[in-house]
């Protein structure tokens, strides 16, 4: 069985872009959160806050 390769339609492309943008936003929030957390862990580990 052979499948016909064809590009995304305009509607599919719009959905793909929306999903990529949403995933990027979530990943951005997660990475910023991890940066803050790792900073706080480092500060606690080196004993600045006792």
């Amino acid at each position: 069985m052979t499948e016909v390769e064809r590009p995304y339609t305009a509607e599919e492309t719009r959905i793909v872009r929306e999903r990529q943008a949403a995933r990027s936003r979530v990943m951005g929030v997660v990475l910023i959160g991890l940066c803050v957390l790792f900073f706080l862990i480092t500060v606690v580990k080196i004993g600045v806050w006792g």
């Binding site: 499948e3 016909v4 390769e5 995304y8 599919e12 999903r19 949403a22 995933r23 706080l40 862990i41």
Partner: protein
């Protein structure tokens, strides 16, 4: 044959990755881990405590993702699980596998570096136990799957405790025993009224293999050692009266509901109200038991 149309694999939504982690299961894991952490003797910095709970949650999420990756074909056969991202075709399996392994490695690594390596080791073992021992080996092969597999869900309070103290003593072992012995009556009550679903998926749950009578006997039988384990922290002097009185009351209620299941002779799911009541109450039971234990040790003591 040439097809004019094709299945287009769209990028999965972030919500599908979230669904892979089984958020509802994760909430119970996080809660019991938090109670273990709060009940442990000693102090832990709030940042490290938060990191511990986050790592345990991510580890539980990894278990959910790896479980769904392995069971995608089975999930497609059960109404309860057929709408998950993989059986519904919203995500490719490779992405789920990579997500699961990534979460597992990240959670164990951060736990080890930021908290301690004992809790990281137990977390790694619990992920392995759930993903490989339970999902791959026990679940498709033996009706005792959730008896032994229940150990995987019993580790979180031990990890929470170990995050604070750096060791494992009698008390976290008792917390482990409570969840370990709670798991069979909890899941077998579900398996009784979901028997058809499990049968269609070919999973050898106890009602499908040994019958409903044997399952009801087992539910009632397991309720006694579970109650003994739940009351044990008070009996050995590790908790105060708040937990002592409330654990006795909760376990009496559990035993009454388990007795109603044992008396029930119904074969049809719609006539299994005692089983549904026990299943619903068992979740509340575990939440209350652990919350009261943590409150007793942290606030009252």
């Amino acid at each position: 044959m040439t097809t004019a149309t094709r299945d287009i694999l769209m990028p999965a939504e972030w919500r599908d990755f979230w669904a892979l982690t089984k958020p509802r299961v994760m909430s119970l894991v996080v809660f019991t881990a938090l109670c273990g952490l709060l009940a442990a003797p000693g102090d832990i910095h709030p940042v490290i405590a938060f990191t511990s709970i986050m790592c345990i949650a991510l580890g539980a999420g990894a278990c959910g993702a790896l479980n769904q990756w392995y069971e995608a074909d089975v999930d497609a056969k059960m109404a309860r699980t057929s709408k998950r991202p993989l059986p519904a075709g919203r995500m490719d399996r490779e992405a789920a596998l990579q997500f699961g392994i990534g979460l597992a490695a990240f959670s164990v690594g951060i736990m080890g570096v930021a908290v301690n390596w004992l809790s990281a080791g137990i977390l790694a073992f619990s992920i392995f136990f759930y993903s490989v021992v339970y999902t791959v080996w026990l679940k498709p092969n033996t009706p005792q799957n959730i008896v032994i597999g229940g150990a995987a869900g019993a580790f979180p309070p031990v990890i929470g405790w170990a995050a604070v103290t750096g060791d494992v003593t009698l008390m976290p072992v008792l917390l482990f025993a409570i969840i370990f012995l709670w798991t069979p009556p909890h899941f077998w009550a579900l398996a009784l009224f979901m028997k058809t679903d499990y049968g269609a998926a070919g999973i050898p749950m106890l009602p499908n293999v040994a019958g409903q009578r044997a399952t009801r006997n087992q539910i009632f039988a397991y309720s006694f050692p579970m109650a003994a384990a739940a009351i044990a922290p008070f009996a050995v002097g590790e908790s105060g009266w708040l937990y002592g009185i409330s654990s006795v009351a909760l376990n009496l209620l559990f035993l009454v509901l388990a007795f109603n299941v044992w008396r029930n002779e119904a074969n049809e799911a719609k006539a299994m109200q005692p089983e549904k009541k026990l299943f619903g109450f068992s979740i509340l039971y575990l939440f209350l038991l652990f919350a009261l234990f943590a409150a007793d040790r942290k606030i009252i003591a």
